[in-house]
């Protein structure tokens, strides 16, 4: 693997979205086993003015789809706010995965210098993905993870990092 902009962003998003899908599956299994409803869980927020779980899942999808699309000069898929059910959110993650996987590496690596709008300023595609997009994506992924942990869903740090959880420290 090369440390290209594509691998830094898109490959990381593919890997992260696969984990996000795993979180959703783990949650669905657990809720089915316990007979709990998913509504209250998806509406659960970790802190005042922090979006609830369902919206955090959606935000991760939106960053993964829209940020690389902007750099690549591609039309991103419509925002499509999925209904707040686990199955709809799982489909939403699948859709994000399909789109993100369809982005050709050249579209990202070849547009690293392309100027894109970030808020009120113009930044390079490379800075946009590295400084803005990646922190946002991992922010939402982590908030999803912590919300599930706090809600008693048996997700572990190994689910977050795959086989790399060598320290086991959470």
């Amino acid at each position: 693997m090369e440390p290209s902009l594509y691998n830094t962003s898109v490959s990381a998003y593919v890997s992260g979205l696969v984990r996000l899908r795993g979180f959703i599956d783990r949650t669905a299994e657990h809720l089915a086993k316990c007979g709990f409803e998913e509504g209250p869980l998806l509406g659960r927020s970790l802190a005042r003015r922090l979006h609830p779980l369902g919206r955090q899942i959606l935000s991760a999808c939106l960053h993964a789809e829209r940020d690389p699309a902007r750099v690549a000069g591609l039309e991103p898929p419509p925002r499509a706010t999925a209904p707040m059910t686990l199955s709809a959110l799982r489909e939403r993650v699948e859709r994000a995965l399909t789109f993100v996987r369809s982005i050709a590496p050249d579209r990202i690596d070849g547009n690293a210098d392309r100027r894109v709008r970030d808020g009120w300023s113009q930044v390079s595609g490379s800075d946009y993905l590295r400084r803005h997009s990646i922190p946002h994506f991992y922010f939402h992924l982590t908030v999803v993870y912590i919300t599930l942990r706090r809600s008693g869903i048996p997700v572990s740090k190994a689910d977050f990092v795959g086989a790399a959880g060598e320290t086991g420290a959470a």
Partner: protein, 204 residues
């Protein structure tokens, strides 16, 4: 004192004296070069740690300036590390993963700092350490292999250094940064969106 040990244990030996030190983005100038492992990792860790320093500064103000505030031992879940623990893990992650890739022995994880002063010092030491990394040395080991996973669980495997940094180290690094941020928000510290990472922060 654990923080001093951390710096000493993790100091990164230099190559030849006078060898060009890599910096970002000045070293790249206007010339289009293919991105290097250095470019893809060091500035990112440093930005993250600077953002962490910023939110801890705001937390300290919120705690009325108390350096040994109970915020340090606050968490968001019993099975997740406390604020001080997350700060140590973020620093340790960045420092030891880069050291591993460079082929150096990994230092011991320091104990969680007991004060905001200690956390600030630890972050300062970590960014200084990252700044001392020789870009050519780091780029020279892009192809090396790193062991990940656990031998006991039978998940141990070898992956490339770049994959290790991009898909394992950086996600975990952000995990600890985000968890520290969430612990502060959870405990009522009035952080704003842009506080997470300099000028561009996460949506709420």
């Amino acid at each position: 004192m654990p923080v001093t040990t951390f710096a000493a244990a993790n100091a990164i030996p230099h190559g030849e004296p006078g060898q060009a030190r890599g910096s970002f983005p000045e070293a790249l100038g206007n010339k289009r070069v293919s991105p290097s492992l250095y470019e893809a990792s060091i500035p990112l860790y440093n930005r993250g740690l600077n953002g962490l320093r910023l939110i801890l500064g705001r937390a300290r103000v919120h705690a009325g300036g108390d350096s040994e505030s109970s915020l340090l031992t606050s968490g968001v879940d019993d099975r997740l590390n406390t604020l001080a623990g997350q700060v140590v893990l973020a620093c340790h992650r960045a420092a030891t993963d880069i050291r591993r890739v460079l082929g150096f022995e990994v230092g011991k994880r320091p104990k969680p700092p007991a004060s905001f002063d200690d956390m600030d010092r630890l972050i300062g030491q970590t960014t200084a350490l990252l700044d001392s990394v020789d870009a050519d040395a780091l780029n020279g080991v892009q192809g090396s292999k790193i062991a990940v996973g656990s031998a006991q669980k039978g998940t141990r495997r070898m992956i490339g250094a770049t994959e290790f940094i991009l898909l394992h180290s950086i996600p975990q690094f952000y995990f600890h940064l985000t968890t520290a941020y969430v612990i502060l928000r959870y405990n009522g510290v009035p952080l704003r969106k842009p506080d997470f990472l300099g000028s561009s922060g996460p949506t709420p």
